[in-house]
Symmetry: C2
Amino acid sequence: MTKAARKSTEEKLLLAARRLFCQAGIHATGISRILEEAGVARRSLYTHYGSKENLLKAVLDTEASMWFHWFDLELPDLKCSARERILVLFDLLGKWFEKEDFFGCIFINAVAEHEKDSGWVKDMAGAYRYQIIARLQSLVVESGAGNADMVTQKLGLIIEGAIVTAMVTQSSKAAHIARLAAEDILRCMECSPSQAEAASSATTAAMESA
Amino acid sequence: MTKAARKSTEEKLLLAARRLFCQAGIHATGISRILEEAGVARRSLYTHYGSKENLLKAVLDTEASMWFHWFDLELPDLKCSARERILVLFDLLGKWFEKEDFFGCIFINAVAEHEKDSGWVKDMAGAYRYQIIARLQSLVVESGAGNADMVTQKLGLIIEGAIVTAMVTQSSKAAHIARLAAEDILRCMECSPSQAEAASSATTAAMESA
DNA sequence: ATTAAGGTAGACTGTTCGGTCTACAGTAGA
DNA sequence: TCTACTGTAGACCGAACAGTCTACCTTAAT
């Protein structure tokens, strides 16, 4: 902390764990590999975190904090309309996808490889998602949407789709596609706030034979 | 196969493995648990599949076949417009999400917990996704879209988002939201086939500070 | 100078896992 | 009836894993 600001042991472990958990999977990543990548002794991990599970919790906590920090402090800094700030979200997604160490969202990945009926992973991911959606909704409300709740959910779904698509295809194109889709959503919201509901029931009867 | 049509050993293993891999994760599911659930002897698994990895491959193959079968044979059966068939897709998604044994898409989950730079899991998931997108695209083309490729990618992204959202939230609401979002996409496609591209560059400059 | 904190190195442990092996039972066709 | 096939039951093996322990080093405050 004096002048070189060398990474602390905790930071080194957190960074290595985050990368390996995302790149190779959580269960597939052994403690030894994390230690090797972090350049940290075995004992240090257990004095700081106590277990692999606690390390994962710390990684998820850190990830959530980073996103909330960005959402609450950095995004409001650029003074533009709420609609523009929503779209900037997708450009940020693109920058994230372009990073060489992008391997999907660790929350989604963690849920995917843990028990889905119960457990703290599911709970943490749910809480994280709730908070992200809440922040997204305040942007949507600020942009003056009538049916803000539905628009928010559509946008949230597109964001999640973009993250997973980018993970599977290993390409950042998904962010661009997502942004265009979001623009469609916002355009429909402006033109016809309640028309969407009316048009949705016409074709529902066709699904009976499936 | 005579009249009781009892499940074969392979089927029992495939079903148990599919459910457990999805519900609890692939790495977190031990061989013994699969055998217990399937009611099958340990040796039978290895005579039929040789390894856990091969069993996973078989599960993925089966899953892909089921989707392709549905897409190629059942969907064309209901004689309605291509646009309506696209929307029926989302109703089917809803029925899938409502099942008590829905725990996400096994392809997405498998990618999430395996190496993301290389490996057969990534390859299989990529091939599967490619074939699904191709079928989706033929529907979009049939519906008369000008920029069919972009519309297809938007819809594919929404489908993936719905699947992941349904997995994380353990709710089938995502299918309904996805359908409404898809209707927005299709409406924008009809009204202004090329307008979307023009409007997308206006706010791109705002992201420099991120 | 001494002490205490926090680090490294790496041997060690108990458990669990994927996978193999032996022994045996039911069944159906030659 | 013999044989071949397909299955069960479960002991067993080696490897890998998460986690513990001992011994030692460095650094900074007392």
